[in-house]
């Protein structure tokens, strides 16, 4: 176990480490398996934890994780300078949606579409607020169904269609729940804090 803590040294130098990811991805694209291993050690753990929060079936989580890194191995060349972590999650989230689709015996697995750029929007403001203020408390006040939709669309960056597949509900329901979730969140926030600010605490 001891060796795994070696990465602590890099903690102080976050920027250098992130660019390290870019180097790793280029090496993976060139066919370097040890770079894939290094990338795996850095990211597989949190990806697993994040998938586990979204999927109760450990077998599916395991497969999605495996598929994610298989995809990385195959298409690292397609990585276009995004943050490696964000890119990995995009792949994993799509794979999870695919896995759900396979489970529902709907269709075959498609090849990965290029990760869509997330446009800055009202959601981003929610997210910024998330990192700081009272949003947590506000979130606790809205129903789990709404939270689920919010998580899929806002946090995980899935399209309405993908979210619908992941959660197993119709697209229309995703849309209406997302609207309701935002409204309720806003209401809860106003209630908690009459003049919401985005500043760090």
């Amino acid at each position: 176990m001891g060796g795994r803590w070696e990465n602590d040294d890099t903690h102080a130098d976050a920027g250098g480490d992130a660019s390290g990811d870019a180097v790793l991805l280029r090496a993976v694209a060139a066919g370097d398996a040890s770079a894939l291993a290094e990338l795996y050690d850095r990211h597989a753990g949190w990806l697993h934890a994040r998938l586990t929060r979204r999927c109760a079936d450990p077998e599916v989580v395991r497969e999605v994780l495996q598929d994610t890194f298989v995809t990385v191995w195959r298409s690292a060349a397609g990585h276009r300078g995004q943050q490696a972590g964000g890119w990995l999650w995009t792949i994993a989230a799509r794979r999870l949606v695919d896995a759900r689709r396979v489970q529902e015996r709907a269709a075959r697995v498609e090849t990965l579409p290029a990760p869509a750029a997330v446009a800055p929007s009202a959601e981003d403001r929610v997210l910024t607020a998330l990192e700081y203020g009272d949003v947590g408390t506000a979130l606790d006040r809205i129903s789990p169904e709404l939270r689920e939709v919010l998580r899929a669309t806002v946090v995980d960056g899935l399209s309405t269609r993908e979210a619908a597949r992941l959660l197993g509900i119709p697209e229309g329901t995703v849309k209406s729940r997302a609207l309701r979730a935002r409204a309720e969140l806003r209401a809860a926030l106003t209630q908690l804090n009459p003049s919401p600010t985005g500043g760090p605490a």
């Binding site: 450990p58 077998e59 497969e63 396979v102």
Partner: protein
């Protein structure tokens, strides 16, 4: 489990055994006829207790529906098992996966994984009857772990394995014990010392000792009973102490 009593024909194989086992590797030690196999078979739900309760994964195994669910989540390596003459390693493990009602889509990958974990990936298509005794034992381990069981019951898993394979197997045991409740019966004290987090010593159907390999070793260090290693001396010391109290009872 509480107040477990198992009858084997007319003799009582286990008498008022109370055990609670959590995650980890539990070694089941004891002389031949102590009731190790009886206990494992009851835990594997193959045999029913004549008295007492067996609760697995929080469910009472006396209840039919709970039993079905529990059985899908356990793995069992019997002391002896047979196979159909034409079975290959892969077919055998797939068949057990099917019996355990694993989803068909996930079975092939799970079978490959289980076979690879016991080091038989290169022999997956060999007929079982062409394999050595040690390899057949490993096939048995593969079928037991194919469904990633939460409760794994292994009756003498190291029998027939050569020393090197035993070392590898203990490694596998430690891995499995990290997330599952593993119960291993063995007559080899060194298996317990190397791979188990807890030890239960059975004698004549009763629990003679419970502790860890360390406490058993410590017991051995303060006694002068027979045995080459402290843990072996601990084993004999615990056994003698138990028998002495049984006689006085």
């Amino acid at each position: 489990m509480t107040g477990l009593r198992v009858r084997h024909r007319r003799t009582v194989a286990l008498d008022s055994v109370d055990l609670a086992l959590g995650t980890g590797v539990h070694g089941l030690l004891g002389p031949n006829g102590a009731g190790k196999t009886s206990l494992i078979r009851v835990l594997a739900t193959v045999a029913g207790p004549s008295a007492g309760r067996v609760e697995l994964l929080g469910r009472d195994t006396a209840e039919h529906r709970a039993l079905g669910e529990v059985r899908g989540r356990l793995g069992y390596l019997p002391q002896e098992f047979g196979y159909y003459p034409g079975f290959t390693v892969r077919e055998f493990v797939s068949y057990v996966a099917w019996l355990k009602e694993m989803p068909a889509a996930r079975t092939p990958a799970a079978v490959e994984r289980a076979v690879a974990r016991v080091g038989l990936a290169d022999r997956a298509d060999r007929k079982i009857r062409t394999l050595s005794g040690g390899m057949v034992r490993r096939v048995g381990i593969a079928q037991a772990i194919v469904n990633a069981p939460e409760v794994l019951l292994l009756d003498e898993p190291t029998a027939g394995l050569d020393p090197e394979q035993r070392v590898e197997f203990r490694e596998l045991l430690r891995e499995l014990g990290a997330s599952a409740t593993v119960v291993v019966s063995t007559h080899l004290v060194e298996d317990v010392a190397a791979a188990c987090t807890e030890v239960t010593l059975l004698d004549s159907g009763r629990v003679a000792y419970r502790g860890t390999p360390d406490t058993l070793t410590a017991l051995g260090e303060t006694s002068d009973g027979p045995g080459d290693h402290p843990i072996e001396r601990g084993y004999t010391a615990a056994l003698r102490a138990h028998r002495a109290t049984e006689v006085l009872r």
